[in-house]
Symmetry: C2
């Protein structure tokens, strides 16, 4: 069985949360919009988003094809993959908590996006630069510490547990790794100031990066770098 | 068995998506923060949000207590309730699609919130009024039609199906009802212009409102009105 992932080809974005789960699970997948010379690529992604004739049309990428299933919304894809590949607890309590954490990460990711596009995703950054500076300041001062403080408490509450939901790695751990990487890229100064307050998160992130399959993936050309086109983008004026 | 819902007592907000599911399911629940004279109310909500000693702490309300389970994130609560009370399809495909729709509704709700608070939830509206006017305009012109067009396509694709996911009502139908009610309240002019483009959504909304348990709930004092403190709030300058 092989999966097909559909996501914008130039940025890690929300697709990266899905890629990390697929890579850690060690399953085969096609990253369709990034393939060249197969006649698929971007047209296939746009066809999906048009949605004609689809029984379960997506609103936006990422979209995962698994046999006859077509699944959209990042957290929903991870819910599916988590249950299939041991990336979520077997217990109802654990499963719901991991999904809750993922949805909280998704909320934070949306807020990160809006630091550089507080007015509209259809306008250029320079057309909303002043608003972005105000929003980014509020984000750095209030939202970022609140979210990271929450995740640090989650990582601490379990005592000696290695992972967010206990003894086994889940998709939320993989996503938290990506979130911290993205935040360090976008807000290096703000994150440097806050890092010592989150020793558990930093340790957890290092453990994720050291997973053999994750480490192999991060060193491969499949891993896309952050850039100024993505959700996590660095602009010095937004990180004073 | 009885549920406990924890949410801000003065606004429908995100708690309302959970209330509609509980009401349609016909189950008993305590709306804890709205109770008076029980010694619970707001202090109980704040204690939950502090999270001390909790195994699965929430980041924000709504939170649902079900026996020993404590579940946060609106869509996650609905995932749980949907499976328990027949408010989601039994098939994996249907279950995932309903959750995908709910997460898309959640994204739209967050964008509605940011039309009046585009800079920070900690600032007053008047401190971000200019930014709000720009963001609301982009929302009305691009995002709102895109989202509603998507949901109309979903409602249309199934041909004669009565509900978003087919033959049976799901929690996504209940949430879509609340979403349309909120949008009409917040953006009456923009919605009036768009209404004729979404006949299926309007019919679906009427069918939800006519469900006996929903109708009884809407006529009861348990139903909170929209107001200028909520996520859906009306400001004429944001609805030109």
């Amino acid at each position: 069985m092989s999966y097909e992932l559909y996501y914008w080809p130039q940025i890690p974005g929300r697709g990266e949360f899905v890629r990390l789960a697929l890579e850690e699970a060690g399953v085969r997948y096609r990253d369709v919009a990034r393939e060249r010379g197969h006649g698929a690529g971007m047209p296939a992604l746009f066809a999906l988003l048009e949605g004609r004739g689809l029984d379960t049309p997506p609103f936006a990428p990422p979209v995962l094809k698994s046999g006859r299933l077509l699944i959209a919304q990042t957290a929903n894809i991870l819910l599916y993959l988590g249950a299939r590949h041991g990336l979520a607890p077997a217990s109802e309590r654990g499963r719901l908590f991991v999904h809750q954490l993922q949805l909280t990460i998704a909320d934070l990711v949306a807020e990160v996006h809006d630091t550089h596009h507080p007015i509209s995703g259809d306008l250029y950054f320079k057309q909303q630069r002043r608003e972005a500076m105000r929003r980014a300041e509020a984000f750095r001062k209030a939202r970022l510490p609140k979210y990271l403080g929450y995740f640090e408490r989650v990582a601490t509450r379990a005592g000696r547990a290695r992972w967010l939901a206990g003894g086994r790695l889940s998709y939320a751990d993989l996503s938290l790794y990506q979130l911290l990487e993205g935040l360090d890229y976008a807000f290096p100064r703000a994150m440097a100031r806050q890092r010592r307050r989150h020793p558990r998160l930093q340790a957890l992130r290092a453990r994720v990066a050291a997973r053999p399959r994750v480490a192999a993936y991060l060193a491969s050309p499949r891993r896309l770098p952050f850039s100024e086109q993505g959700i996590f983008r660095h602009s010095p004026e937004l990180d004073r």
